[in-house]
Amino acid sequence: MDVKITQPSLPFPGSIQDTPGGGIVLSKLDDVINWARSNSVWPLTFATSCCGIEMMSAASAKYDFSRFGFEVARATPRQADVIIIAGTIVNKMAPVLKRLYDQMPDPKYVIAMGACAISGGPFFYNTYSVVKGADHIIPVDVYIAGCPPRPEALLHALITLQEKIRSGLTRDQIRAQFSEDGK
């Protein structure tokens, strides 16, 4: 029996946008700045639970997110660009997360990694202390589903985030654009 998968897999983010001028030589200053920002995304070492281990795996030699320049994990939010919410956020942690986010200088990005950070995931029902999605606390740019997502999935999310930074669009704009495309 021939079977096909119902959901067409998402188009790969890196392949959507052709950079004019073949890569590095860009015309506008904005583009140069966005290029720099997108290629230098320093994460905050912030992990609450299981997804943090997959984040460590993504840093490890086999997956090595340093290829994209992400390996400069900063322990202090003052120097970080992206906060990867790797794990569940509970009510007690929520103010701390908000504070960490506020301490980061602009421009800053947020990746919600895994089911817990997106929506509370396994702890959505019948729990009294779990925040049902980190985007109730801070705005999230990219969501990765999975529990926990593979290291490759994290890399995919980072590439997706790079695409967002390069496009120079705000969160709402890029959401609107992608909803129109029907993805």
Binding site: T6, Q7, L10, G14, Y63, A115, G121, Y143, E152
Partner: protein, 160 residues
């Protein structure tokens, strides 16, 4: 005194030796780039072979007539520990004029799913299975809520 000096120098020598051995090991890796084990995602996307058991997301299998095997028994919904699956049923009137239960929408919340495989185990008709996809990154959380049965799909004949 001599023994003390001897011990002292042995200790210093051992210490320096241990440091040197450590540097030798890292030096070995520095001079042997073949030890590098990095797999370059996304360049290796096409050759990336995930195990067939890898649980990436739940999908419903459809054949070429756009038919699936889900009877809407909601065994998966019951088996799911955290309400990832919602089955909305409708009643269809078939050729013989009988009312028959069928799924209207098989709603799957990928943002909640923990890939625990309990729904697949529970399914009596093997209508759903785990796919090996993992590139689920989206800008909008709503896009993770999916309807697994394709538009206009029907229950395959003979599946009860």
């Amino acid at each position: 005194m001599i023994r003390f000096l001897k011990n002292y120098f042995t200790e210093v020598f051992q210490a320096v030796k241990s440091l040197f051995l450590g540097m030798k090991l890292t030096g070995y890796y520095f001079t042997h780039p073949k030890e590098i084990i990095t797999q370059e995602y996304p360049e290796n996307r096409l050759t990336l072979n995930l195990s067939e058991r890898f649980r990436g997301e739940v999908v419903m299998t459809h054949d070429e007539q756009n038919e699936h095997a889900c009877t809407g028994c909601s065994a998966c919904e019951l088996a799911c520990p955290n309400g990832t699956i919602k089955i909305i049923n409708k009643f269809e009137i078939n050729a013989e004029g009988k009312k028959k239960k069928a799924i209207d929408a098989f709603v799957y919340h990928l943002e909640l799913c923990t890939m625990c495989n309990l729904c697949i185990q529970a399914c009596p008709t093997d209508a759903i299975k785990m796919a090996q996809t993992f590139e689920h990154s989206v800008f909008n959380r709503n896009m993770l809520t999916k309807q697994l049965n394709l538009a206009g799909s029907k229950l395959r004949e003979g599946v009860e």
